[in-house]
Symmetry: C3
Subunit: 134 residues, 3 copies
Amino acid sequence: MHRHSVPLTTGSQRITDVTGACQEFVGGIGGDGLLHVFLPHATAGLALLETGAGSDTDLAEHLDALLPRDDRWRHRHGSPGHGADHVLPALISPSLTVPIDDGRLALGTWQSIVVVDTNEDNATRTLRLSLLPG
Amino acid sequence: MHRHSVPLTTGSQRITDVTGACQEFVGGIGGDGLLHVFLPHATAGLALLETGAGSDTDLAEHLDALLPRDDRWRHRHGSPGHGADHVLPALISPSLTVPIDDGRLALGTWQSIVVVDTNEDNATRTLRLSLLPG
Amino acid sequence: MHRHSVPLTTGSQRITDVTGACQEFVGGIGGDGLLHVFLPHATAGLALLETGAGSDTDLAEHLDALLPRDDRWRHRHGSPGHGADHVLPALISPSLTVPIDDGRLALGTWQSIVVVDTNEDNATRTLRLSLLPG
């Protein structure tokens, strides 16, 4: 198994495309296998999404309908509505596995790997990559 | 690692049971391990669900409450409400891993592996299967 | 691959922390790798969540907004609203993979592994653990 950690700066954006960072790791090793992607953070998830055609913004905005940033949450330190950030990983898991074909992520044409993170209080993240050859 | 691609015809149905296709692949290899199931498509997810007792229809219909097919979406080519299809994989991931016991998917009594796909514009799909023996 | 089954008593609580049971298995083997966690049950999911600061209760209660326990469901044996329990695993998958560093779950500071189960009719569960060394 090959393992790697990638530092990320997500800043205030809710969706961050990490396909390039994942492909760079996978391409440097080559061959077939599976890539496991993991976020060791309690307010972030990973999704496979089309980016650049509106869907990333659609998801970012629709999260406010699914997990409203109001005063319903018991967890309420930090920014207003921050409790919603802590429920997000239950719906969008921080664990994702993707096949690899000959050193390439075997993604569909319109799939990108994105970090989903509505927590603006923490702008730095770490991505954990584990590659199973085979 | 054993790898296999299965062509699927999902047609206009939102839920397609693929347990048989997965079991066929796993049974042909035998032994213990883990099966990774993956969809290289940007409008589909995988779920473990009881089928045949109403829950597949319940999920199919409730997705319209969670992701309404109205004009809220920025991504709006194709059928009306198609933007919802592109947010679906963030909530229902196209990546799933299941244990294998002696050539059998180690599913619970009421669990089936289903493809969830609300996009009626594309009726053919590919299922990527990767088996880790061990 | 190392494999293990852990019996669980979830009782009537919706969120059950299983980090300790996972760590005990992983620590007994040691080394680096990946841990796959799986629930062979059709009304339960796994999430990575901060526990003990309100978010577990936030998730437990917000599930009633996402999946209302009313008479909308076709699947309707058991307790009122039980159909919602059967849709839950589509949103909160019963499959989760976590990196391991030197015999320790490589979780973030605020991440715990929890079983999410709104079905009060079944209080005993099994957790399937598979460890891939490497």
